[in-house]
């Protein structure tokens, strides 16, 4: 547990100094929301119909930006090797990076979320809390799969381009489940929301476990 908090704490200190990760995720997320607003303003579609898709497009692409930043930091000066020399298992290292990626994404998303509510003229009632909860579950899944995939793509020549190519197909279940759950909350209908939440949680658990076991292969030289 101690090394895990050390990694998260280190990333927070670096982020406070460089202010690169959260600000870029934030800006990107808000830009996506604004673009969506312009693109669909004249279509006359109900805000609650396109809203969930809009929100998760913003979240998942902003997450990729954050993941790229987070890994660029570890690749710079071969810092990842320094982490590998420390007396902790590769799996724990993975969990540490997931924790810090998750934390940064959540911070950015919790600022984007009110903007989403304001832009779409929604009132801040219990729907806000519900969507915040779904964001936490969905982001856990995205960071679980994104952390290991960003480590993989870091070895290629075009890391920034490679990450979305690897990540988007794998996070399809998260996107579908999160969008569906969000739309049910937005429309105040909750018939089968638990099924979607189960998929989100199941995805996170499966990927955390599998990645914990195979992370060694992704970082080994």
């Amino acid at each position: 547990m101690k090394p895990l908090t050390a990694i998260v704490f280190k990333d927070i200190v670096i982020e406070m100094r460089s202010k690169e990760s959260i600000s870029s995720m934030l800006m990107f997320g808000i830009l996506v929301l604004v673009i969506f607003m312009f693109a669909f303003e004249s279509s006359g579609l109900e805000k609650t119909v396109i809203g969930p898709g809009e929100l998760w497009v913003a979240f998942s692409f902003a997450a990729i930006l954050g993941l790229n930043r987070s890994l660029a930091m570890e690749i710079d000066n071969d810092c990842l090797q320094g982490l590998l020399l420390a007396p902790l298992g590769r799996g724990e290292l993975y969990l540490g990076k997931v924790a810090s990626n998750f934390a940064f994404m959540i911070i950015a998303e919790f600022i984007v979320l009110p903007v989403f509510f304001i832009l779409n003229n929604l009132s801040f009632d219990q729907r806000f809390i519900g969507i915040a909860g779904i964001s936490i579950l969905g982001t856990l899944g995205i960071s679980a799969v994104g952390t290991i995939l960003s480590t993989i793509s870091a070895n290629t020549r075009m890391k920034e381009v490679m990450l979305p190519i690897l990540q988007i197909p794998l996070s399809v279940p998260v996107i579908i489940a999160a969008v569906e759950a969000t739309s049910q909350i937005l429309n105040n209908e909750k018939p089968e929301i638990s099924a979607w939440l189960t998929i989100l949680a199941g995805f996170s658990i499966v990927y955390l476990t599998v990645s914990y076991l195979v992370f060694e292969f992704a970082v080994e030289e």
Partner: protein, 225 residues
């Protein structure tokens, strides 16, 4: 040698399969002749798309456990088969859907899964081509392939749930087709496609071996200079 036998076998079985599909099998009442696509579509999907997924999973897992290059070759060939067969299968699906549903593509549960699967296969291939170091390539692609194939059942679950919530007026292509002649045709076509798959796969595997040898000898030649 193995390749030649498989090639001959797949040609031998393909001819009766085509005969049965076009002439032997009865015309389906509601869909007409378009239904005949289904005889080639189903084997392509089952053997090509899902079969490759299982093979890719086995290849990646095998490599990560044994660290033997032959499993990496196996995985790479499975992924290539996945790309080719899934693409072919999607083409048949589109050709069938246009006259029957009136659209080229409908995002029903199976179709969506096929597209995601194709994207994962292609991503696996792109990753391979951007990793120059042989050992790194094998390891990282092994990890990615494993993660990708773990994704398939979860994907299926979410897409299935997604679609059953919004039922669409979609008749399963096999709806009502329990005619014994139809079953025989489908079986024959399954055999033909499986042999075709085996032929292409084994052929690709031998090429992969030659490729490895060329890589190695190039390195040796460079080192000697």
């Amino acid at each position: 040698m193995k390749v030649k036998i498989l090639a001959i076998l797949s040609v031998i079985t393909m001819i009766p399969a085509l005969y049965m599909i076009f002439l032997f099998a009865p015309t389906e009442a509601t869909q007409g002749n378009a239904q005949r696509i289904f005889y080639i579509h189903v084997p392509l999907a089952v053997v090509g798309a899902y079969g490759s997924a299982i093979m890719l999973f086995i290849g990646c897992l095998g490599f990560l456990i044994t660290r033997d290059l032959k499993w990496d070759r196996f995985a790479a060939c499975s992924a290539e088969m996945g790309v080719v067969f899934t693409a072919a299968q999607l083409l048949t699906a589109m050709m069938w859907a246009k006259p029957i549903w009136g659209t080229w593509y409908a995002f029903d549960s199976r179709g969506t899964l096929q597209i995601v699967l194709l994207l994962i296969y292609i991503a696996y291939f792109m990753l391979r081509s951007y990793l120059p170091d042989r050992e790194k390539r094998a390891k990282l692609c092994g990890v990615f392939g494993l993660l990708g194939m773990v994704d398939v059942p979860i994907n299926y679950l979410s897409i299935y749930l997604f679609r059953t919530q919004h039922p669409q007026p979609v008749i399963s292509p096999g709806g009502g087709g329990v005619d014994p002649d139809m079953a025989k045709t489908l079986l024959m076509s399954f055999i033909a496609i499986t042999l075709l798959y085996a032929y292409v796969f084994v052929r690709r595997l031998t090429i992969a071996k030659v490729e490895e040898e060329v890589d190695y000898l190039t390195q040796v030649a460079l080192a000697n200079e």
